[in-house]
């Protein structure tokens, strides 16, 4: 399975970044082969609407599942419209997060509280 993880760094030793909209990278991982690629998240530098921008970029990566800490309501709306399933994971190393995912220990998440993006 090809999944995306919000990451603080560019490899499997990096920590999961709990913020979806503002994480610096998306790590796109093949959970079987452990092959991965790191993609810059354009939302990390957005003035406002970071979640929307991040979600829009994520949809282009064609990963149908996302593992993150929290996605705000705007990002959530875009991701769900794009057919992405969102799982919540703690702030662990990406390699550990992948194990949790494979063992079925992650649960699907609901949107976080309203951010500045949609007062």
């Amino acid at each position: 399975m090809r999944i995306g993880i919000s990451a603080a760094g560019k490899d499997l030793d990096a920590l999961l970044d709990p913020r979806f909209g503002r994480c610096p990278y998306f790590l796109i991982v093949d959970t079987e082969t452990k092959e991965f690629e790191a993609v810059d998240n354009p939302g990390s530098t957005a003035g406002g609407g970071a979640g929307i921008k991040a979600a829009q970029a994520f949809l282009r990566l064609e990963a149908k599942e996302l593992v993150t800490g929290q996605a705000g309501p705007n990002a959530f709306e875009v991701l769900v419209e794009g057919g992405v399933k969102i799982y919540q994971a703690p702030q662990l190393k990406i390699s550990e997060v992948i194990e949790l995912y494979k063992n079925g220990d992650l649960k699907e998440t609901t949107p976080a509280g309203r951010g500045r993006g949609a007062r």
Partner: protein, 286 residues
């Protein structure tokens, strides 16, 4: 002459100064238009007690998508600096709270699938407070953008006959203040002799310098710490035009909605004096 009253720090007495100045000038027979541009919380009316005769809606543009013509190319979302649009599979999502109403998405859409819709974000109210023409803007609760309301309010200035326009600005030095103050002939900066007052006066001075507007300072609640402000004014070569002492009487009058110059004629003369010094020092004054 357009005279903006601003402060940087909130609660220093912008409205107190603006209202007393307007009333004092009107009392001397000047034709005055008073503009409350603090659209997030307009309160000059509490003192001026205007009769409002007109209410005009303020709208901003927002995208409306014709999903039938859209091929989900994403040009609109790509263009939008505020991320007010997103394109998912087979749908364009819009986030009106983020839209600044620039209309760019309408222009860049290659399929002409975006129309400019309108959303009401506030109102402009116009009326009279005795001989003073009184206008204010009011932003709807929950709306994040004050600037379009202020801009609409100021657009009306092109046609006014009044010789003196007094602009009561919001607090701070951010976009709504800049919109309120720009194009003014003079900026009256109201401050108080506290470290906060000084700090924010410095910011306000930088802002009006940047806008190229000559300025003068009013020290409100003046007292033993005035040096805090006068040192800065000396350094920056800005005149102190008036000191309003820290006084229980003035505060009590304010607390029951009475502008003190109305009942204390010596203040009327002092505010008239400010106007005279501004006129003498300000080449743009008529």
């Amino acid at each position: 002459m357009k005279l903006a009253v601003l402060s940087g720090k909130g609660g220093t007495g912008k409205t107190t100064v603006a209202v007393n100045l307007a009333l004092s000038l009107a009392e001397k027979g000047e034709k005055v238009l008073f503009l409350d541009t603090d659209v997030e919380e307009p309160n000059a009316g509490l003192y001026m007690k205007p009769v409002l005769e007109e209410s005009l809606p303020v709208t901003i543009a927002q995208p409306e998508i014709d999903q039938g013509n859209c091929d989900y190319c994403g040009e609109c979302a790509n263009f939008c600096q505020f991320n007010a649009l997103a394109v998912a599979e087979g749908v364009v999502l819009t986030f009106p709270e983020l839209c600044h109403g620039c209309g760019g998405c309408v222009l860049v859409c290659p399929k002409e699938a975006i129309q400019e819709g309108k959303r009401e974000i506030g109102v402009i109210e116009k009326g009279w407070a005795d001989s003073i023409k009184f206008w204010q803007g009011r932003l709807n609760i929950g709306e994040p953008f004050a600037v379009p309301v202020t801009r609409y309010l100021k657009n009306g200035l092109a046609d006014v006959q009044e010789d003196i326009v007094i602009i009561d600005a919001p607090a701070g030095v951010s976009c709504p203040v800049i919109e309120a103050v720009r194009d003014s002939d003079f900026a009256l900066l109201v401050t108080e002799p506290t470290p906060f007052g000084r700090h924010d006066l410095e910011l306000a001075l930088k802002m009006v310098d940047h806008l190229g507007i000559p300025s003068g300072v009013v020290i409100n609640r003046a007292g033993k710490n005035n040096d805090l402000i006068s040192e800065l004014c000396q350094e920056r070569n800005v005149p102190i035009l008036l000191e309003i002492e820290f006084s229980k009487l003035l505060a009590s009058l304010g607390s029951i909605g009475i502008p003190f110059s109305r009942v204390l004629p010596q203040w009327q003369e002092r505010f008239w004096g400010i106007y005279q010094s501004i006129k003498e020092g300000c080449p743009c004054a008529s």
